[in-house]
Symmetry: D2
Subunit: 311 residues, 4 copies
Amino acid sequence: MTFTFLGPAGTFCEQALLSLPGTEAEERVPAVSVDSALAAVRAGEVDAAMVPIENSVEGGVSATLDAVAHGDTLQIVAEALIPITFELLVRPGIERLEDIKIISTHGHAWAQCRGWVEANIPGVSFLPASSTAAGAMGLLDPECTYDAALCSPLVSQNTALRVLRQGVEDHEGAVTRFILVTRPGAMPDPTGSDKTTAVVTMTDDHPGGLRELLDQFATRGVNLTRIESRPTGGGLGQYFFSLDLEGHLNEPRVADALAGAHRMSADVRFLGSYPSATPLASKVPAHASSEAYRAAGDWISRLRRVGRGED
Amino acid sequence: MTFTFLGPAGTFCEQALLSLPGTEAEERVPAVSVDSALAAVRAGEVDAAMVPIENSVEGGVSATLDAVAHGDTLQIVAEALIPITFELLVRPGIERLEDIKIISTHGHAWAQCRGWVEANIPGVSFLPASSTAAGAMGLLDPECTYDAALCSPLVSQNTALRVLRQGVEDHEGAVTRFILVTRPGAMPDPTGSDKTTAVVTMTDDHPGGLRELLDQFATRGVNLTRIESRPTGGGLGQYFFSLDLEGHLNEPRVADALAGAHRMSADVRFLGSYPSATPLASKVPAHASSEAYRAAGDWISRLRRVGRGED
Amino acid sequence: MTFTFLGPAGTFCEQALLSLPGTEAEERVPAVSVDSALAAVRAGEVDAAMVPIENSVEGGVSATLDAVAHGDTLQIVAEALIPITFELLVRPGIERLEDIKIISTHGHAWAQCRGWVEANIPGVSFLPASSTAAGAMGLLDPECTYDAALCSPLVSQNTALRVLRQGVEDHEGAVTRFILVTRPGAMPDPTGSDKTTAVVTMTDDHPGGLRELLDQFATRGVNLTRIESRPTGGGLGQYFFSLDLEGHLNEPRVADALAGAHRMSADVRFLGSYPSATPLASKVPAHASSEAYRAAGDWISRLRRVGRGED
Amino acid sequence: MTFTFLGPAGTFCEQALLSLPGTEAEERVPAVSVDSALAAVRAGEVDAAMVPIENSVEGGVSATLDAVAHGDTLQIVAEALIPITFELLVRPGIERLEDIKIISTHGHAWAQCRGWVEANIPGVSFLPASSTAAGAMGLLDPECTYDAALCSPLVSQNTALRVLRQGVEDHEGAVTRFILVTRPGAMPDPTGSDKTTAVVTMTDDHPGGLRELLDQFATRGVNLTRIESRPTGGGLGQYFFSLDLEGHLNEPRVADALAGAHRMSADVRFLGSYPSATPLASKVPAHASSEAYRAAGDWISRLRRVGRGED
């Protein structure tokens, strides 16, 4: 199998990919953007792409949420959670914090370390980079116009770049969730602790539409772990919902809830059922168990048989 | 076919039975109570029983609601609505209202005419009778101890009893709804304007249980036309619900809602789908149409096929 | 104070009245019906009436539910739960069950003992009486035309009538709930375990109306302990709801929920807050506590003060 | 009054500020970020800040959503909707699209024009700029290292920079919504077409929590026009909700719904009621009108007065 990820080498995204068993030995092609990574999957150039979907501090990754919601359907087959911690790397010659005048990194990294930077290197300037790793690798260039970079520990592990400070993120314990995306095909088997991701666009944007959608899940005892509204592009106030729920398409309550959402909405895009990276806490209520579904289905079948005079 | 009904001849219940096409030519056996009428059906002594289920003034008929909820399962195959109007019949010798000292009739009839009686025959006494027709027929007995009876117009049409006043009911326009009950078997075909009756006993009597039950119907776009709570007999505060809904078991939204109720409750008893006696007003929402169900079912099937690697 | 109750002396209803402290020493006037008992209260002829509202086997008492829902407003100030057990009393000369040919009692009592009677005195006839006590007292009449009566143990305690069997009710443990009704006036203070009774008539009978009504209570954390639909008299399918809820009008969550119901409905009739006869089981959720209400009210007031430029 | 906005001069944000009556004559200080703009308001250095909150294509502006949700409370007093259209400006010497090798602009602008750029200038590179206006103004620098910029039409109106193409955005009709933020104080009066913005953090992240929150608004007939989940920073799966609703704090239904949310949640932050930039479409249901609130409030007051024996 061949993989792509948000490159270059050394990003948190590569780290997420390497956290999955068996990926280290496979071909890994860096991509310059979420869009190009997913385009490579859609075009069949690679088998799978690892991309970020949400961060516990920054929230949803719009580029990913939108890219998987539109275009040829894709499928999520795995997720990985990566603790986000930043190192401050410096170019040769920089010894102390007060020597740093310009820091280059990706906007997301800057957002997550800005408090520390303002407190510790007051007056420093920010130069946007296309990725955290790109900003760091630029320090190796003798003509580098900036002094430092903020990036994943993966970079210093693989280069001679000097680490001036570790753990410079503002929010200790931040985590980014990444998803592994393939073309539609065989789905991971249920493990008993699975997530399902879907995108729902309501038929019309009437008051109470979201509540009606949530009712479809609640009445089937299906718990949502994430819900984000994203604009459809049709104008302010027109949203679709990206959501994760607990359970696997093969479980009847999940299929029943998704079918309910399908009937209520202009479009539901199923994006896959896959093992949760962490054990799921919530219990399936008795009325939503597969056994309850089987019993109710049998009951209806029997009633209909009797009603046709067959029993 | 043989039928039973709440007798004797001349009751509103016989009138309801005769309102169904083809019943006049069939054998009709009067029963002394709802329980005995339904027992005769259960025992196979008759094919069907006509019994009252609700009155637009008096409300639900507890005897019927309870009798169909317990014991061997029965099936409702038709309903009939009978306008309830009462005549005041008198025994020979009574010429004027002021001559009437005692009126005998069934307690339900008394309840529906009491206002008129108190206004027009002040001071009169009430003697309970086992049925309106029985009270009226007693007037033919030379030793009758009362002076008048309140009953259906059917009685005076078939006897020589004198009608002193017509339309003595307090609520003009009152209607009683009767149901025709058989043993379980072939169900009437959907007509596009059908009702379904069911009895639901909740698993436990937790706060909000009724709301959760209603959610099962509402999320499938199924409209309830009647809901009554009845005690389970297990103690105050423990109820089951008797309900009518719009639609037929053969419609997927109805089967889906009943299956949802089945999963949530200790017991659901299906009592039949049958043509509504009056055209149903409410529209099926687009998301609950059979077409929407078919499309959603196809979608789930396709997703699962793809997920098994078959597509 | 003067009281009325469903008479004659010796009914379960008198027993209920006597179960309230201090009533034994007061004047007690029997009434012949729920309507006449309540009319006496409305007319100021008595101060309070004790009437049955529901039975754990037979369900709601329609006469009471309807009478308190219409006419001049009344107020429930207390409730009493009376275990219902029946004795079989016989007239002098009757020694054995097989001597009994005719039993007289009130229809409700008959309904609650019919199973025992059919099993133990097969073939016996039923003669309706206006009350259980009236049926029993008739046995003292030398010209009594029936042999036995079914009634409350209170009768044999106060007469010389012979008890042939005790505990002849079909459902062991049956309970009737009675309410003490006055003209509107000072309300019992909250005790921490109170009930509130109200009658709600929806504005229009649209699908989902009941669910919307229940939402008004659920969103305020108010638990309903009883809900019954009763016809408005306007035609089949037109109902009002009689309901009991946990809590007292003086609690903000109860007032808030009732105000919500008031806004949604054509009419809400408040029938009183009074101590529950049994301790209430369910907990008030934190979000519905009086403290949460106070804090939220203060917050809104402060926001509005700031918004007016006053803070 | 003094204002700040996302600078430099010529941004869409300045355009939004200038769209409000009377702002042109006032002092306008550009800010380098949403955070610094809001910090200037909080510190009292300026009276108000105009910042973007959502775009009809890109969605919510996380920096703004998070900044107004935390720190000292701020107040939204106005909103402005600005159509987003981009011009392609070039440095002197560039005559044709094929001469362009590098384009500099803000990441958001790049995201909104990328389709057009890839179709029309294949192979071009993207150089992130700190703002669209900054990227454009850089073209005036003789040593500019890039060839073109994507920015608001406001820039070309005020500079000699050459416009090579207009309307290069991918989504025609895109709109950004900006909000004018002040320190808490006097609130705009209700206009009959108002919005209210609030931030709600649930007490605990239990399944169904969002649905319960929506119930608080729905039962008061309050329509939400925007809802976005944002991470609290406490870990994946822990969200707060940023929401806009139709109506003004001075309307009882809005105050009642916010009070309900306050009781249910760990924290509700009120961010202001202000005139909607466009007329609001949805009708207030009859049960949520101020008149219905007044009537229900009067009814409760009267019941309580009677209950205290005062009436």
